[in-house]
Amino acid sequence: MNERKRYQAPDELDAVARQALINLIWAIADSKVVLGRRYAEWANRAPVLESGVAAAAMAQTELGHTRALYMLLRAFPEVPADVTDEEQFRDHYNAPSFLDRPLAKWTEFVAVNLIFDGALTEAIKAMRGSAYEPLAQRIDKMLEEERFHQMHGRDWLRRLARQSEAARAELEEAVGRVLPETLCWFGRDDDEGAARLVALGIVDATPGELRRRLRDQLMPLFEETGVHAPADALPWEQFDPKTRRVEQAA
């Protein structure tokens, strides 16, 4: 970014920025832990052997990213020790509700790969050249690795949509389950903490801007393949900004 103050450590940040940065890194790290697990579960079930290997490789990549992100979080003493302890399985992760259970069908895998992995990547792209140095140092490598995840998701969406009407319809259903919560995941438009991170140059986009960027990535592809995104308003009433989850009705 430009000639701004650069931050080397948590104690250089004001309270609002600090809390917002913790929330953001925690959400990305937890999401990648669970996403990695869901990818790994398809390693020997994918419709094509090579995609099973790709699923395993993508799982490994996500887990590698979580190691780097939890290391960043450990610098913040207010983050509970059990959160960054990678040996521990927790009951609750700050990850979206559509990852709570294993992905039942390959079409769901593809929707999550394309949409939610894509959203995480947009969030990370917005940290390129971050004013928070420990973050800026890790971003380029993560983005290089994520490139392949995007290619995998896009290619499979196109092929499945072409394969049959049944596959296209199933994909559309999966998109309907994954996209709304993913768009909320970036945070509310009026999120003060997110605005503070942009003001300091730690992140280069607001939640609204990140939503726009993800839509710009996805909509042409949905148009092209005839897999339509739901048109309903986003489920903000069920959205919890702390966990970034949309809690489903019981």
């Binding site: 090579e50 395993a56 490789a57």
Partner: protein, 70 residues
């Protein structure tokens, strides 16, 4: 609902890679994929034992033999 791929959709790609600038591109294996993009993804996933400097995939049918084994 089955999402199995029909076999007619697949091409064999030869994978070449090198670790250092002074190395030649060396054949490291093959992948089977429906298109160039998936060949890239699969090759990257499968041939990950080294930090490669460069890796390329070439459709086998693009290869023109100069000398062919008997």
């Amino acid at each position: 609902m089955s999402t199995r791929e029909p076999n007619s959709d697949k091409q064999v790609y030869e994978v070449f890679a090198r670790r250092k600038y002074e190395d030649p591109l060396r054949h490291v294996g093959t992948v089977t994929a429906p298109d160039d993009e998936m060949a890239v993804v699969y090759a990257r996933s499968i041939y990950d034992e080294w930090n490669w400097l460069e890796m390329v995939v070439v459709p086998r049918q693009a290869i023109v033999h100069v000398i062919e084994p008997a």
